[in-house]
């Protein structure tokens, strides 16, 4: 008797909870049900078979990442939180930097709102697993494009936004002028980095003896260099520029560059539609600079006669807007420029303060490497 009643009371309570769950769950149920489970899986597998790519792309049209991002209303972007100039967090809690601005570029293109970004700070070991897991839509974290990453990490590298390279910094009064002068020099370098591998490879090939002074982090390396424990400091030249400003001693950055480090956005393999969106959004900034369109003067282009610019900005040509068929609004370039700015503006805002010259990253018209396919 007693036991039965307890049981019934329990059942009553459970039933009530179920009723709540059912009634309250109504709104979320719709989103959960029709999930096409196979889409992502098939797409990933099919990338090795070129013939199947089109079909995978067809499937992606409906339930791909682009649709997911639009439905979510927010772009998940993997960034660096500890590299000034490229990605860090300021005292007010805002993510800022060159890479962060390209997250904003993609968000402006896809969602029409550069602020609709959710940033995930990542370190260099988590970045690819996180991308593969789909936890982030795009990885923009000073990531070097290499063949093995493209192949083994299932990463899909987009337009290179910054051409970096491994450089050298010496004390201002040093006699070292180039790599050839570094015979028997002590060189400060971080442990376990490609920087160290490059150093060993290049100096080994050229037969230059040297002493590598290895450190765990820049916080330890920096005072050692200032104290003169090593004559040379090597890392990416953008990093050297960032550090040289804060050291408080005269330094000189050599013109020798011993590696190629093209950095740019990365997406996961297997979603061509999304890759194209990210790629063209990124390239629009360079095209805008080439046309001389900036965030401040874009309104003056509203009645330009130049048909290329009209097409680029999504303005009507003879009553018709050119459709690129990328799956994002036709005025995506306008959104990018007015909300974030063109490539030159992004560079000036984030990297010029570190003392980084445009050099290789100038427009092709200025002798640099920034060259994008036409928007037509």
């Amino acid at each position: 008797m007693n036991k039965n009643r307890n049981l019934l009371r329990l059942l009553a309570a459970l039933l009530a909870i179920v009723v709540i769950a059912a009634a309250c769950g109504d709104d979320s149920g719709d989103a959960a049900e029709p999930a096409p489970t196979t889409t992502a899986a098939t797409a990933t597998e099919d990338t090795t078979a070129p013939a199947a790519n089109d079909m995978a792309e067809e499937a992606e049209e409906e339930g791909g990442r682009l649709a997911a991002v639009v439905a979510r209303g927010e772009l998940n972007c993997g960034v660096n939180a500890t590299l000034p100039g490229f990605g860090n967090i300021d005292a007010d809690g805002n993510n800022t930097g060159f890479d962060v601005d390209f997250c904003r570029v993609v968000a402006a293109a896809v969602l029409g709102d550069a602020d609709a970004v959710s940033y995930t700070p990542l370190d260099s070991t988590q970045r690819f697993p996180t991308l593969q897991a789909g936890e982030i839509d795009v990885l923009i974290r000073n990531t070097t494009w290499t063949a093995s990453r493209d192949g083994n990490e299932q990463a899909n590298f987009m337009f290179t936004t910054f051409y970096d390279g491994q450089g050298f910094m010496v004390h201002g009064d040093s006699s070292i002028q180039s790599v050839e002068d570094m015979s028997n020099a002590s060189i400060c370098v971080l442990q376990g980095t490609t920087t160290l591998l490059n150093l060993n490879a290049v100096f080994g090939d050229r037969g230059i003896p040297f002493t590598a002074v290895e450190f765990q982090s820049n916080d330890e390396l920096q005072p050692a260099f200032v104290a003169g424990q090593c004559e040379v400091w090597t890392t990416d030249s953008s990093g050297l520029a960032a550090f040289s400003a804060t050291l408080g001693i005269p330094t000189r950055i050599l013109s020798d560059i011993i590696s190629k480090e093209p950095l740019g956005p990365v997406v996961a393999d297997g979603d061509t539609e999304w890759a194209q969106v990210v790629n063209w959004a990124t390239m629009a900034t360079v095209q805008a600079e080439e046309y001389g369109i900036t965030s401040s003067n874009i309104s003056s282009f509203a009645d330009t006669e130049d048909s290329n610019i009209r097409r680029f900005l999504g303005l009507e040509i003879e009553g018709e807007v050119t459709e690129f068929g990328l799956g994002i609004p036709d005025d995506f370039a306008s959104q990018i420029i007015s909300q974030v700015g063109n490539y030159g503006e992004i560079y000036e805002r984030n990297l010029a303060p570190l003392g980084l010259e445009r050099e290789r990253n100038a427009l092709w018209t200025d002798g640099g490497l920034m060259y994008v396919p036409p928007f037509r």
């Binding site: 309250c24 993997g78 005292a91 936890e135 920096q222 005072p223």
Partner: protein, 503 residues
């Protein structure tokens, strides 16, 4: 005092008659001579230690006064709340007031009812004093005030002062509750706590938590009231209440259950109404995926403890169960979770879980998954600690309870668990403290916790590469220490009150 006086009076009298042992009170100089410099090697050790301590002290003071704390002054908000939007900081403060109100009322009510119980049983009652409260929480208060000393603007001062005022006022309020209204007082405290979440997080996923929490709390209150009505819970009435219940049910059994069912369904409808009401009004707010800093660290710890403990107790009981399914499920869960590092569980929830779902399915955010992992992890450890306590309860206790006709559930609830948990308080608190420090692992899955904030601040262009980790890490360590120390201090207090190791 009077006792001491009369004692010394007796002493004086006696000393005239018999010879007392010589007084051991030494002058400071003699004490030092006898204890620190009584032979050559003790003198050497003393000298070395004095030198070492003086060196450390001088260096520490030197660091304290020579360091530039600008990095902390600039980033104070980042350390406290991470990337929480700065123009919405009022939410944090209001939520803080409500939370402190909740804690105040809760502790006040509990104190009052504990007093009532003690009076009833003729035990010594604990005097209520504010200085005592300050002594108990001096570490947290001191560290918070130290943190505040870096603030550049007025609002943080006003905010923190108001937080304390909210606590003291509501504790005073809670103390005035009638002890019989304990449950209602606690329910009210819980309500305030959930309200504080709602202010902070608006209608996000926490809305559901609020409604669910309210429903759960309300059900608990109902069950409690139901039990109180029948005098269940007081061991001496158990044998009797069974008889009483059998013959004194005022209306038929079926109607009773029907009534409960109806009231639950009605409640469900009401709560769904509340839920729709809440979700249709946009309250703004920021879900916990936007939280960070010390706030996030503390929140994850509180959630880990408050959900891990009940689950852990259930697992411990399950492991002792005679039912093979429950027993093996508990054993497998505990042994699996305990056998895997927390990092790998976190990485699993972070990187592998999304792979198991289609990309357009909205699975819970990263922090929600982390909470689940941390709950599971702490539950597994707590289960083993509690199991140790369960085994320490003599079998005779269970047999005596069985002999007096208690049901299995009541034996656990009233006889076994109180003794078992009392015995393992030190180990439990050790687990809580270690969980608190384990939350720094959130860094590896891209969350900006209290520790990671230090790295982020050091990477800002104006502070980059200046070795300022020597400033930020001690600052962060101090924060961790204050809370961990208070936890362990409180646990010793609870142990003393419950007479662990004495009875």
């Amino acid at each position: 005092m009077s006792v001491t006086n009369s004692g010394s009076g007796v002493h004086d009298e006696v000393s005239e008659v018999s010879e007392l042992p010589p007084s051991h009170r030494l002058s400071p100089g003699d004490w030092i001579k006898q204890n620190l410099f009584n032979n050559w090697y003790n003198s050497l050790i003393t000298a070395v230690f004095i030198f070492a301590i003086a060196f450390a002290l001088v260096r520490t003071l030197g660091w304290l006064f020579s360091s530039d704390f600008l990095i902390i002054r600039r980033n104070l908000a980042l350390f406290m709340v991470g990337q929480f939007p700065r123009d919405e900081l009022w939410r944090s403060w209001v939520s803080g007031y409500l939370l402190m109100g909740s804690l105040g009322i809760g502790s006040g009510v509990l104190w009052r009812s504990a007093q009532a119980v003690a009076e009833e049983k003729g035990l010594p009652t604990e005097p209520h004093s504010w200085p005592d409260l300050l002594r108990r929480f001096w570490a947290i208060i001191a560290v918070l005030i130290f943190f505040l000393s870096f603030a550049r603007t007025v609002p943080p001062f006003v905010g923190l002062a108001t937080v304390f005022v909210a606590f003291f006022i509501s504790r005073e309020l809670g103390r005035r509750f009638n002890p019989a209204m304990r449950t209602r007082g606690l329910f009210f405290a819980g309500l305030l706590g959930l309200l504080s979440l709602l202010v902070l997080a608006g209608t996000g996923g926490l809305g559901a938590l609020t409604v669910g929490g309210l429903f759960g709390a309300w059900t608990l209150v109902e069950v409690r009231r139901y039990a109180d009505e029948r005098g269940v819970g007081a061991p001496e009435t158990i044998g009797a209440s069974r008889r009483v219940r059998r013959w004194h049910i005022p209306y038929p059994f079926k109607r009773r259950v029907g009534g409960i069912l109806a009231s639950r369904v009605a409640a469900a409808v009401v709560f769904c109404g509340v839920w729709y009401g809440l979700t249709s009004v946009d309250l703004g707010g920021f879900g916990w995926d936007d939280w960070g800093g010390l706030h996030l660290t503390l929140f994850v710890t509180v959630i880990g403890i408050s959900t891990g403990l009940p689950v852990g107790i259930l697992l411990a009981l399950g492991r002792q169960s005679d039912l093979p399914v429950i027993k093996s499920a508990s054993v497998i869960f505990i042994e699996f979770v305990r056998g895997v590092p927390l990092i790998s569980l976190l990485l699993f929830s972070w990187l592998m879980l999304p792979l198991l779902f289609p990309i357009d399915l909205d699975i819970p955010g990263p922090l929600t998954r982390v909470m689940i992992v941390i709950t599971a992890f702490s539950a597994a450890y707590i289960a083993e600690i509690v199991r140790g306590g369960l085994q320490a309860v003599p079998r005779g206790q269970v047999e005596a309870a069985q002999a007096s006709g208690m049901s299995a559930g009541k034996i656990q609830r009233l006889i076994v668990l109180p003794q078992a948990l009392r015995a393992v308080i030190p180990a439990l608190v050790g687990q809580f403290i270690s969980l608190f420090k384990d939350t720094s692992l959130l860094t590896i899955i891209g969350l900006l916790d209290f520790l990671e904030t230090s790295a982020v601040a050091n990477a800002q262009p104006e502070f980059l590469g200046q070795g300022l980790v020597a400033v930020t890490y001690p600052f962060v360590a101090l924060g961790y220490w204050a809370f961990a120390y208070t936890m362990s201090k409180e646990s010793r207090r609870v142990e003393e009150r419950l007479g662990v190791g004495v009875r």
